[in-house]
Symmetry: C2
Subunit: 416 residues, 2 copies
């Protein structure tokens, strides 16, 4: 065990929201507040931008009950950011500023809560601080609905999004089959390069009411084969429900969503294309070929912020990840990310944490194993179901007001 | 009280699904099964089509617990239909067939569960049976997420859809404001001619996290004024969330969704245009004018089948409507629709039923009173909130399996 390091901590959130990223923030904040050697707990407004702008909220001033409500508050309550930080070796302007702020507030612990890009930011800060000899323990807390973070069995945020997708697909499946014939419905699900979320739609089918076909980006998408698949079921059943990942692409790597693009393609700060409109495009093509009434449904932001359908397993694990990050840092760890390991004890799913070097996870993407996709490339196998099912379990207690969600109301007092 | 009428009953469902139309079916079925003079309870497969096709399910054969699960099963479990029945005075072909089937199964009670068009069907059947002197009591059981049925304070299905919309808008509002600037989000909500559902988005704002602007079809939509509204808030806040009804139209009555339509307009069997794509269209225009990152989100089918977020008030009232329909028929009523009256007892919302002549409700549409829309035409007033809030209250007990909804599994044994 390292010597005790006394000082303040900062928690920042980054990247796209999830239903449980605030649960991880809660895990960090609550544990840090309860830890003696952590003298002050700051929340950075809009991630690393809050550090650069010297906008830090004093978490010690918040009402404990409001903090606890973070467990069921979606999106990033401290504010998020999509800011690509330079390589410290190439341009250290931002890092000098970060160091200045760290010194100003005597920050010795830095926790960053996000996905791939955030772990990259985290890794760079950790590296810089080490190089300049400023003692600061940096730990990444994972989140991403996409579940594509490398080295961890799964990622906080995924289970709740998967549960939302499965539940919504169950409901839509009931609706989309209400007429005896003449209806084709396409549901578009997030996941740029990994099909974890699209695959989760199959949980609905497994429970008796879900999509007939599921297309993941791990397999090259063949437009003609897709139309044949759908039309064949349409002829048999009179109605079809299809789930597709937004990231499906042809053998040349071109996104299908770009085929008929009428809107200017939007790119985010990391240069990732913002996809969308795919469901309607596919539905229109199927309408042309069959004359069926069609619906294209994009789950859009809904799927990643649906805290009202959060999985208890996911919320609990998200809190755990935050807690373990603080405990690890206090024990002297740095430059690591908290990761999950799954273990079945007497056939029952359990999850424990481990630490991974940040540079081993940043910028790698974990995809759905090809063995978990059927031969036809139009659904997932039982292995996928067995993997995902434990992650969507349980309903967390959630507070309501007027029967609508009661979210955390933080005071957000800015440190001077 | 009329003389007791002994005979079988048929329950049919029609029109677009809701989260609670099956709760009404349950109310009818359960009450009919428990009523001595009703000798047999049939469920028509796909509404009136099931009668014409002689496809009737024997409800007496169903497991009572599975029937009870109908209370939380979305969409129309017996199957729905969009079939425009002729005027009996002009073409009585269908009616002769219906009479034949009624005689075959000794049907003396007919309950039809649907919206405007279904009440029209119901009224015509009632009229025909009276004219030919076949004793059959016909009662309409209302449902529509649109809440546009005339003569009733509100309609089963609306409360649950409103709750889904408000909850989703609360979540999306958190997500759409996670970055400190540069984001405009447009949410498109169902409602062809009435803004009840779009207005419900304001319940989210009332509870602290919802749209900044809400546009209803009751007010002519001015595109330029809309853009000014949005951009003015965008300049102030850096992000904007807008809710629009799919039915917004210009002063000439042209749907805004038709302005940039690239897809062939779909029409249903009643000649209603199938709207959609509006959110993306508006978002694109706002992107052009502001350069902001934009999102167009269409709540699509999700909003009308979200039984996982059903309001307990709505489910209970839906069951009540079905129950009261049977009780009224047994007492001798016919050619009526069950309607709701709201009463505040010691400031507390209560609801009781009444009966309305079918010909007074069919084909009229109830719109949001203009006094409940603000002067700017870009939001609803407190009166709207006070009207809608009681209808979304409470969380019904719902059964789950693998933490996913457990829907009714009916045997659907077809009568020979």
């Amino acid at each position: 065990m390292e010597k005790e390091l006394k000082g303040a901590c900062i928690i920042g959130q980054s990247g796209g929201p999830t239903a449980v990223i605030n649960a991880s923030a809660y895990g960090v904040i609550r544990t840090a507040l309860d830890t003696d050697c952590i003298t002050k707990v700051y929340g950075a407004a809009h991630g690393i931008k809050g550090v650069l702008d010297d906008k830090l909220y004093i978490m010690d001033e918040e009402d404990p009950h409001e903090l606890e409500l973070l467990k069921n508050t979606p999106s990033s309550e401290l504010g998020s950011v999509r800011y690509k930080i330079a390589d410290p070796e190439k341009d250290d302007t931002d890092y000098k500023r970060i160091l200045e702020i760290f010194k100003k507030y005597d920050v010795r612990y830095f926790f960053y809560n996000g996905g791939n890009d955030s772990m990259d930011t985290c890794e760079k800060i950790s590296r810089y601080m080490k190089n300049v000899g400023y003692e600061c323990r940096v730990i990444g807390v994972p989140k991403t609905v996409d579940n594509d973070l490398f080295g961890t069995d799964h990622c906080p945020g995924f289970g709740s999004a998967a549960k939302y997708i499965a539940t919504s697909c169950m409901e839509v499946s009931k609706d989309a089959r209400v007429y005896d014939k003449g209806m084709i419905t396409v549901v578009e699900i997030m996941g740029r390069h990994a099909g974890w979320l699209a695959g989760s739609a199959a949980l609905a089918s497994y429970c008796g009411s879900g999509p007939d076909l599921v297309y993941l980006p791990e397999v090259d998408f063949n437009y003609e084969k897709f139309c044949e698949d759908v039309i064949s079921i349409y002829k048999k059943q009179g109605n079809v429900l299809v789930a597709v990942s937004e990231g499906i692409h042809d053998a040349q790597g071109r996104f299908i969503s770009e085929y008929g693009s009428t809107t200017a393609q939007q790119k985010d700060a990391f240069g990732h294309a913002q996809l969308g409109g795919l469901a309607v495009q596919l539905a229109d093509e199927l309408k042309k070929r069959t004359g069926a009434k069609v619906r294209g449904i994009e789950l859009s932001l809904l799927q990643r912020c649906a805290s009202h359908l959060a999985s208890k397993v996911d919320v609990d694990e998200a809190v755990l990840a935050g807690k373990k990050a603080v405990e690890a840092a206090v024990k002297g760890e740095s430059g690591k990310m908290v990761a999950f390991e799954r273990k079945y004890v007497n056939g029952k799913y359990t999850c424990r944490t481990k630490l991974l070097p940040l540079n081993s996870v940043a910028n790698f993407e974990k995809k759905v194993p090809l063995e978990w996709i059927n031969k036809e490339g139009n659904n997932v196998t039982k292995e996928f179901i067995d993997y995902a099912m434990p992650l969507i379990q349980g309903q967390p207690k959630r507070e309501v007001e007027n029967s609508l969600p009661r979210y955390a109301r933080l005071k957000k007092i800015v440190a001077k």
